[in-house]
Amino acid sequence: MDRSFVTGVRVGLGLALASFVLAVTFGALARSAGWGVVAPIVCSLVVFSGSAQFALVTVMSGGGGVAAAIAAAGLINGRFVPMGIAVSGDLRGGRLRRALEGQAVVDGSWVAAHRGGGRFDRHLLFGATAVQWPAWVAGTALGVVLAPPEGLVHDLGLDVVFPAFFLVLLLDELRSSGRARAAAGLGATVAGGLVLLLPAGVALLGSSAAALLGLATPREDR
């Protein structure tokens, strides 16, 4: 088996653990919102995006309507467009195969596969996603079946798991260059400002504009 794929699986195991915990909370939330047993599991199987799925359940159960819920989830997943563009040069095959390979892009795997300088390790991306997907679906199923009380995840401090993993990945990225630190600082500031007034997905998309700093400064690979 490809060594990069195995490395990806190893990296993905930690991410899968976080995904699993988050998925349990998603399953429980969807069940309590009246989604039943099958729909949350199918949702995790075909959407496979925590932030979008939470947005979908939250807006629908808040009486926001189907169109608003779909729009919110779509906006949150809007970040996959620039992320897909970023990896496109490192994928293989024709357009259809590349489009299918692009489905492996999820936040943690995408960052883990980043080799610096805008290049990505394709097999590492696949390996990291291959373990997260089943963990996400299994966690959802467990959440739906167990339906733990809403406060339990909070009381156990498990709501820290997901931002903690993003933070660990961010710390690794910050070591790469001063330019990465400046862009991350700007991105965090923009996201923090936008989320005051706008939905999370729009704030995230807006924060990605901070990457335009890459146009103005000389390239500095790690």
């Binding site: 979008a52 897909g84 931002p163």
Partner: protein, 102 residues
């Protein structure tokens, strides 16, 4: 029925968003400047994800026990703790604070 419609639409949207870049760009190489922007997308999006996740809509989800827990993660990583140990440190710090504060 509306739940299934919503799931189907979001699944298609997600597929399209991940597919459009690789399908349209194909194997064309990005220019040096575009690659410079792409190189910064990871730190920028991660920073945005952390802030949005911690703050919540309108900053109404801000929970200082969670922020201190994330401080524990940073401290653990600074002490060269492995990733899972660092995350566990964040969970323990947050949980202990919440128990202590009732």
């Amino acid at each position: 029925m509306t739940i299934w419609l919503a799931i189907g639409c979001v699944a298609l949207l997600s597929f399209a968003m991940k597919a459009v870049g690789p399908a349209v760009l194909g194997d064309r190489e990005l220019s040096g400047r575009a690659r410079g922007v792409v190189a910064l997308l990871a730190p920028v999006l991660l920073a945005g994800l952390v802030v949005v996740n911690v703050a919540g809509p309108g900053w109404r989800g801000l929970d200082w026990t969670l922020v201190v827990g994330l401080g524990g993660v940073v401290a653990a990583r600074a002490c060269r703790a492995p990733v899972l140990v660092a995350v566990l440190a964040g969970v323990v710090v947050t949980a202990v604070l919440r128990v202590a504060l009732g």
